[in-house]
Amino acid sequence: MAAQDSGPNTAEEEEDDYMNMIIEEPTQPKQKETYTQRRLRKQRESEARGRVKSKAELALEEAAQREDSLSKSLLEDPETAAKNKGLAMMAKMGFKPGVALGSKENKDARLEPVGISMKEDRGGIGLDSEKKRKFREEHEKEGKRVKAEQVDYRERMRMEREEARLESQVAAAMRVAERMDGEKEEQDAFCAGGSQDEESKETKRKMPTKPLRQINVLWRGLVQRREEKERDRRMRYDLHQSLSRLPTYEDPDEDKDDKRALGTHVVRHSLVEDLEEEDPELDAFNGLDPADRLDKLVRHLRQEYNYCFWCKSAYPDETMEDCPGLTEEEHD
């Protein structure tokens, strides 16, 4: 016994005995606990044992134990049932487990003892169940709200991203349309007169003199935004140039030269006359979904220029043979 107990030594001794042909089976599939591990485990265990439990913990334990005992039938526990002399006496009187006491005709006879429920406070009847019900409802409501919000949030984010993507595509399509339109006009003008030099072409492109109303509504927004930006830029620039004085301030004593010297001569910033005017057509177009606007633009480009926005290329004829279709998905 002692040799067996002495652990690692025995293994060494047995190793010396090379005549012994017993093949040992691998008996240690489990990893051995290291010294530190054991020490820690022991420490933990003793701490758990030694700790003085709080009153609340004790009460909880008591209640748990009580509930545990209350829920177990004495007849079902084979150990108590076998040893119980009371049960043996009852068996002699003809008792069978699972059958109630009393007359056979008595259908209401109980098999289980009456339960015990502890009242711990002065809460009125129905308070506990009301509390439980409220808690449950609250819980359910909370759960629903969180869930609904989650769905909402994800959807909203997705929609927002989608919208932003579409808007950028719309803007891109607008730029394409404007460029193409401009090229076409130039070509038309070139074909018509061809007298305009490069420089004038440049300026024309940069500073359209066309009133906004005459620009195709499809990309009018783009032009409008650009114009507005340009105007704001100039106004800011003018403000910086002027001598610290509000541009709107009119000194009646100043003459034209003064004004020039001070840089307060009235500059008309609007490059297009009707920039400030109401534009119901544009508003209606901008009111459309970005997807619809994009669709309109794509169709316009195809119709007018045999250009597919998705393929990013112009086709030689209006059949546009190699283009898979109208929508982005078709180009995936």
Partner: protein
């Protein structure tokens, strides 16, 4: 007569020691010797019933079981008392007039028809119908028990009811209480040889049945308030069902106040049923819109609101226990005084009502409401704050408002953890209706239920569980065995308990050696059943002479059978505790109680016991009743030839002997301290318990014996005394057979003790 004689011979084997003493001196058997003892006084002889030489009375021409209401009416009209021919008084005729106004009176003939036709009759009459006082008299006029040397018995669940109803009926019949009409309750028998009608507690009738299995003394047995379903009533019903078969001449009337009477009908093989409406007024019921956070506070608020806003009429508030009631009474009085001062409310009188209240204080509830404070002022009102004894048993006129928080303190028992305890529990729907009905006795009333209507419908059970389902049945099983019922499994009870409850009871009685392994009564068991005590107490008392301390154990048993002897008013807790410390014994509460009793019997106390008790914060009433119980038990001990001995007080074993004697009865109620902390674990059931704060235990004891397991939010053991494990092994070896213990701390501790004892014995032997 002859067969009654043989009846006497039959149970000889069962009467063990008692039978050896003169059976004639046994009060339970007195009726069997009536002929020898009082032949000259009984009706039998005076009326000469055997020879047909009747003294002419109003009943002389009556045909037994063939009389009519009209005949009875004439006989009642006198001029002589139909039972003793004494001229009837004016008071009699006054009462007679009101009696004839009672609802039951209208159905007298109907009742007689049914009574005569069938052996068992179920009678339903709501409170106020007059059934408790009138039906037994109807029976007397038809059953004519005095012509056959028999009696009519009417059982009541409560002692007070038995006494007061007997007094009332004696007045109604114009006889002296204790003569034609008497009562019999535990420790008090007010009957005589002329008695024809006996009111008694159901427990008393059961004890009589233990000695006279066929209840031969009675020609008719009326079980009143059967709806209350006390343990004794349930057992009696089971017994009567059997007796009815053996005695076709015995008439049985089951009286109930509730509509659940069909259940009684079914149980008694479809016995006929007669229902009499009560005299009640409609009661309007109010529910709260929301459940209450604090039912006591809500109750107080409601009572004060009724006082402030509702018209004249008294209030009945139901609460759960003495402490709660006293506290509520104090608070209501305080608040009402303020209302009177500041809001000119009418005067308000508050009366408590609970079982342990002294009778003269209980009587106070019948005092009329106070008059207005000044002429033309707002009317006065009385408030009764009571437990559920105000629910059915006591009839208080003038109640118009009932406040019902929906709780009562109920006994609960569960065999799985072997705990019998009083717990505050929700009442049943039937109970709630009964409470509401209290408001409609004098005029239409109102009932304020302090719970929602939904809670009433969903949370309350239909009927209160009968006591038999909520009790430890050890005592009942002992009684049933004594009643000659051997097959307890198939004994036809109306609501048979769970099998586990019976199993526990049999097991406990076996450990106490009251039943042998075959389930038959042992000599000790027969002896124990003579005592009106729980088997553990009885066994402790019977074995006490072996420990040379039967005098002391007798006192202790009496002290444990009465309500709490220590008084600890909320206003003087500290002072009360200091006083208790004067009596404290380091070994525990039992010895402390014994010290109190000895001091109570000493010179210093007997000169003015009232003052002495008051000064020492002790309940005079409890101590006096302990004294009374002690003398009753002493009588039974003497009759059973149990020696009354004491160890010399100066002997060092004086207290040890008493503690050892305690173990002889209470070895099943022992707990061992946990190695960590303050908690104890009950032996075998492994329930964690704490010592009750009231406990005096000067020494840090590993093993304690307890009298009571109290269930609250914490588990407490109350009335605790320290014991030694050696005693457990020595005195109760069967229970402390280590092989029956689960492996664990308690088992190993006992094992250690056992080894120690063995070693000691071994060394002794070698020496």
């Amino acid at each position: 007569m002859a067969d009654r004689r043989s009846e006497l011979d039959l149970p000889k084997a069962k009467r063990a020691k008692l039978a050896e003493s003169d059976p004639a001196s046994n009060p339970y058997l007195a009726h069997m010797y009536e002929e020898d003892v009082g032949y000259g006084n009984g009706y039998g002889s005076r009326n000469g019933n055997k020879n047909g030489r009747f003294e002419q009375t109003g009943l002389s021409n009556f045909q037994r079981h063939a009389s009519t209401a009209a005949q009875a009416h004439t006989a009642e009209d006198g001029p002589g008392n139909p039972f003793n021919n004494v001229p009837l008084s004016n008071q009699y005729f006054n009462i007679l007039k009101t009696r004839r106004d009672l609802p039951v009176h209208k159905q007298r003939q109907e009742f007689l028809d049914m009574f005569q036709k069938s052996q068992i009759l179920v009678f339903v009459g709501e409170t106020g119908s007059g059934k408790t006082t009138q039906i037994p008299q109807f029976v007397l006029f038809d059953d004519l028990p005095h012509f056959n040397n028999k009696l009519v018995a009417c059982t009541q669940p409560r002692r007070v009811a038995a006494m007061s109803v007997a007094q009332r009926v004696a007045n109604e019949m114009d006889v002296k209480l204790g003569e034609e009409v008497g009562y019999s309750i535990r420790f008090e028998d007010v009957t005589g040889p002329k008695t024809v009608l006996k009111y008694m507690t159901d427990g008393m009738l059961l004890r009589e049945a233990m000695h006279d299995h066929n209840l031969t003394r009675y020609s008719c047995i009326i079980l009143d308030e059967a709806h209350e379903r006390t343990l004794a009533t349930d057992i009696l019903m089971g017994l009567l069902k059997e007796v009815a078969l053996r005695r076709p001449d015995l008439k049985i009337v089951i009286m109930s106040a509730t509509l659940d009477a069909q259940k009684f009908q079914r149980y008694f093989n479809d016995a006929p049923l007669l229902a009499v409406p009560g005299r009640t007024h409609p009661v309007e019921i109010f529910y709260t819109p929301e459940p209450e956070r604090d039912y006591v506070e809500a109750a107080l608020r409601t009572v004060l609101q009724i006082h402030a806003t509702e018209p004249e009429g008294d209030i009945l508030l139901f609460l759960t226990g003495e402490e709660e009631i006293e506290d509520a009474c104090r608070k209501i009085t305080l608040e009402a005084d303020e209302m009177i001062r500041e809001a000119d409310a009418g005067p308000l009188k508050v009366y408590p009502l609970y079982g342990t209240l002294p009778p003269h204080q209980q009587q106070k509830i019948f005092e009329p409401a106070p008059p207005p404070a000044r002429k033309g002022g707002r009317p006065g009102r009385k408030v009764i704050v009571g437990t559920n004894i105000a629910e059915t048993s006591l009839t208080i006129d003038g109640i118009v408002y009932v406040v019902d928080p929906g709780f009562s303190k109920q006994k609960v028992y569960n065999p799985r953890i072997r705990v019998e305890s009083l717990l505050v529990s929700p009442i049943s729907k039937a109970s709630a209706q009964q409470r509401a009905g209290r408001a409609g006795r004098t005029r239409p009333g109102k009932c304020f239920r302090l719970y929602t209507e939904a809670a009433f419908k969903k949370e309350l059970i239909e009927q209160t569980h009968p006591e038999i389902l909520r009790s430890n049945l050890a005592n009942t099983v002992l009684e049933l065995k004594k009643l000659g019922i051997d097959d307890l499994v198939h004994f036809d009870l109306m609501d048979p308990p769970a099998p586990e409850t019976l199993m526990r009871a049999l097991e406990e009685l076996n450990y106490l050696a009251c039943l042998d392994d075959d389930g038959d009564l042992t000599t000790l068991g027969k002896l124990a059943s003579e005592f009106p005590l729980d088997p553990a107490l009885a066994v402790m008392l019977i074995s006490s002479p072996e420990f040379y301390c039967s005098n002391e154990i007798l006192s202790l048993t009496a002290l444990l059978s009465v309500p709490q002897i220590f008084v600890r008013p909320a206003s003087a807790k500290k002072r009360a505790d200091e006083m208790k410390d004067l009596f404290a014994h380091p070994d525990g509460d039992h010895l402390t109680m014994l010290n109190v009793y000895h001091a109570f019997k000493s010179q210093a106390a007997t000169s003015d016991p009232k003052k002495w008790c008051h000064e020492h914060f002790l309940s005079l009433r409890a101590l006096q009743s302990a004294d009374n119980v002690r003398s009753q038990l002493k009588r039974i001990m003497e009759k059973s030839e149990l020696e009354l001995v004491s160890t010399d007080f100066n002997d060092k074993n004086y207290y040890t002997n008493i503690r050892r004697a305690l173990v002889a009865g209470f070895f099943m109620q022992v707990a061992k301290k946990d190695p960590t902390g303050k908690t104890y674990k009950t032996v075998k059931d492994d329930q964690s318990v704490l010592l009750h704060p009231s406990t005096v235990l000067g020494v840090d004891s590993d093993w304690v014996l307890y009298n009571e397991f109290v269930l609250t939010t914490k588990n407490y053991v109350r009335s605790v005394t320290s014991v030694k494990p050696e005693w457990l092994l020595d005195i109760a070896p069967t229970y402390y057979d280590l092989s029956t213990f689960k492996a664990g701390e308690i088992r190993s501790a006992l094992q250690k003790t056992m080894d120690k004892v063995k070693r000691k014995q071994a060394t002794k032997r070698t020496r």
